[in-house]
Symmetry: none
Subunit: 421 residues, 2 copies
């Protein structure tokens, strides 16, 4: 089955906002066997919305529209769709209660323009949006006797995602009988896409014959690998994918850090929780990004005790017990200092593991000896402390991100390799 996405908003055309909604919808729809045929981004103008909708309806029978549902004057999608489908805007008392409760819960006054968001086209199905004040709308129509569905959702990504998962997808799946697409995603770290592909080359060449498709989804420092199969028989698709995935796991070995579609931080929190172990960090160049990555995981308080973000050398000395003489002699970006940082954190916070990072994230601060991208990392455990030097690039944000991944994967592999007695 084919679908199209229409995103509405001047900010998309002016380049003030990158459209991430379409890719997200494309991915989740593909996982249910619905292929996106086209994505169209248009401005907040009624004639543009009507034109794009008419064109899309000639090509496909399912159309998802995002954007233009806010309370301000420039948001016209709802009015345009009501006119388009010859419906009246009527005050929806249930929705009005929802919106009032939303404002009440936040202790905010409700303005007339917020109240107007409960005015909805009288012939559509309202899709409740508990995350905001703009509801989703589900319109049914037909074209050349084919039933069609046109869905309008707010453009705020987390509101749109909630609506798709909770309201839109279940309704689509009950309306149309679709083949299921079964997929599994694993996470690899520390190996580039082309090298990984080379390791599994022979196996990959045979995949198509098994009717299993593979996608490499690279991000700095990690590659997610997804295998999928489509079938009307969901168990059969599942069997095919699982068989091939086991083969992949054998070939990729320890490059795989998680066997499900979770982040390295999630895999780490899960593993340490199971093992009853704990972690702390001592961060200079990563500036708290390791701690932030770990604590972004719900439940991380069971394993994460804390971090000392020691940007200034004085903080390295006082908060972590680094020897001032080491800093003087070797510099803050050095094996001796990063080792002392990890040991200081482990001892002071009393954790099973402690990670440390000290480096030159850039863009300034490099020297001939220690160019931008030189980053020392250390891992302290009960068995002792190891340190390694990463040589990364010139981009500050990417250097931090790659260091965080490298460090978290290091603990993950270390914890995994230990048998708990």
């Amino acid at each position: 089955m084919l679908a199209e996405v229409i995103t509405v908003g001047d900010e998309l055309l002016l380049g003030q906002t990158v459209d991430t909604n379409s890719a997200w919808m494309g991915e989740i729809l593909a996982s249910r066997g619905i292929a996106l045929n086209r994505i169209t981004s248009i401005s907040d103008q009624a004639e543009e919305i009507v034109a794009a909708l008419n064109e899309a309806r000639k090509r496909v029978d399912l159309i998802l529209i995002t954007g233009g549902l806010g309370p301000t004057r420039d948001d016209i999608t709802k009015h345009t769709l009501a006119d388009y489908f010859a419906m009246e805007l009527r005050m929806n008392e249930d929705v009005l209660k929802r919106i009032s409760a939303w404002f009440h819960g936040r202790g905010l006054p409700m303005l007339p323009m917020n109240k107007a968001q409960a005015m909805l086209p009288d012939g559509c199905t309202v899709l409740p949006n508990p995350r905001g004040t703009a509801m989703g709308m589900w319109f049914e129509a037909s074209q050349d006797n084919r039933p069609q569905v046109i869905i309008s959702m707010p453009g705020v990504p987390y509101e749109m995602k909630g609506l798709v998962e909770e309201e839109v997808l279940p309704r689509i799946l009950s309306k149309w009988e679709l083949p299921t697409r079964f997929h599994r995603t694993v996470l690899t770290q520390g190996i580039g896409e082309s090298y990984l592909s080379k390791i599994v080359n022979e196996w990959e060449e045979n995949l198509a014959r098994q009717d299993v498709s593979i996608a490499y989804l690279p991000a700095p420092g990690q590659v997610r690998v997804r295998l999928s199969a489509v079938s009307m028989d969901s168990e059969e698709a599942q069997r095919r994918v699982n068989t091939e995935l086991n083969e992949f796991l054998n070939l990729a070995g320890e490059h795989v850090v998680a066997e499900t579609d979770i982040s390295i931080a999630e895999a780490l929190v899960e593993l340490l929780t199971q093992r009853g172990e704990t972690l702390s960090t001592a961060e200079s160049c990563t500036g708290g990004a390791m701690a932030a990555a770990i604590t972004s995981v719900a439940g991380s308080s069971a394993v994460f005790k804390g971090a000392a973000v020691a940007y200034a050398n004085a903080v390295k000395i006082h908060a972590l017990g680094v020897d001032a003489a080491d800093i003087e002699r070797d510099g803050a970006v050095s094996e001796s200092v990063v080792t002392a940082m990890a040991e200081g954190a482990r001892e002071r916070m009393g954790t099973t593991y402690a990670l440390a990072a000290s480096g030159i994230a850039g863009p300034g601060g490099g020297t001939p000896d220690k160019p931008v991208g030189t980053i020392w990392i250390a891992l302290a455990t009960a068995e002792g402390t190891r340190a390694r030097c990463l040589k990364l690039g010139r981009h500050r944000g990417r250097n931090v991100q790659r260091t965080v991944l490298e460090c978290l994967a290091w603990v993950l592999r270390t914890a995994r390799s230990q048998n708990k007695d």
Copy 2:
């Protein structure tokens, strides 16, 4: 003048790649007075490319196409355009030399499929691409006697950007005489889009008469506001925008945290650097995200000394000097504890300001007294310490993000309100 962008690639429709090219082109074209009318993403299929191109040519006279120029089988944009414009693919010897040099410089062997990238449509203007092996192509055509330009570029963002800046824009600007668009963006924090719009309502109603347009660009906890004007006389456009922006700044008052298009963290680092002041943080529920936000700014080491991420209570006590009796009596999420955390950080790291946050980020951990989203924040300065309680939502990531913004804006406003003697 109007233009359209067509992005070609199955990966866009499957959601494996977010289309960032379109927003980048939209922004740079807007700055030259060229408005994007539509962005269309389609799959790597000849009939899709031809259909999208024919539709776009009915609407606008300048069309930028990215993607589908790689060396592999699935890349068909070049062949499709040659057929479309009834041109022959011919070996371009200059381009062949360029491509050979590209491989030679990298010590890589040149495959037949790479050599084929020098086969180019004989009637187009070749736009040299020094960053890769796929050249840009400039086609001239006409529709209803209007001259049209259709440009094809590779989809790799940094190759496309180089081509736009060095080849495409200069040619466009010499072909058409265009008005300029002047715009300025300011950052507001702590006020929702609808409340902000209400404050400036009367002024906003008058904007259209001044031929200045406004865009609200909301993100959790902050709203960017952009004013823009288009004119053949760039100074005149600038004057109109500046006049209206001054009026907006008066009305929006202290909701404005930055008068240029930068993040709150960037504005904060800039201000504290100017004032020669320093900052530290003591973080529980934000888990290092405050420190990570500040240190993501290049040059932040001049103002940021460090953070104590005190997830465990023992760390609050030992690293920040919080009184165990306070935690016992009031709980870790309390005015007394967050105040002690801020003061402990300020004293131990010796900074002008110290921020602290302790709360229930969720999704678990709430109680009837302190539901999820209850977050205490404190700011310690030489004049004393203030604490406030935020009542946020149920979403962990957003709670952290909003707390970080609230805290950084707090320091920013506090530092700004102080006259330095």
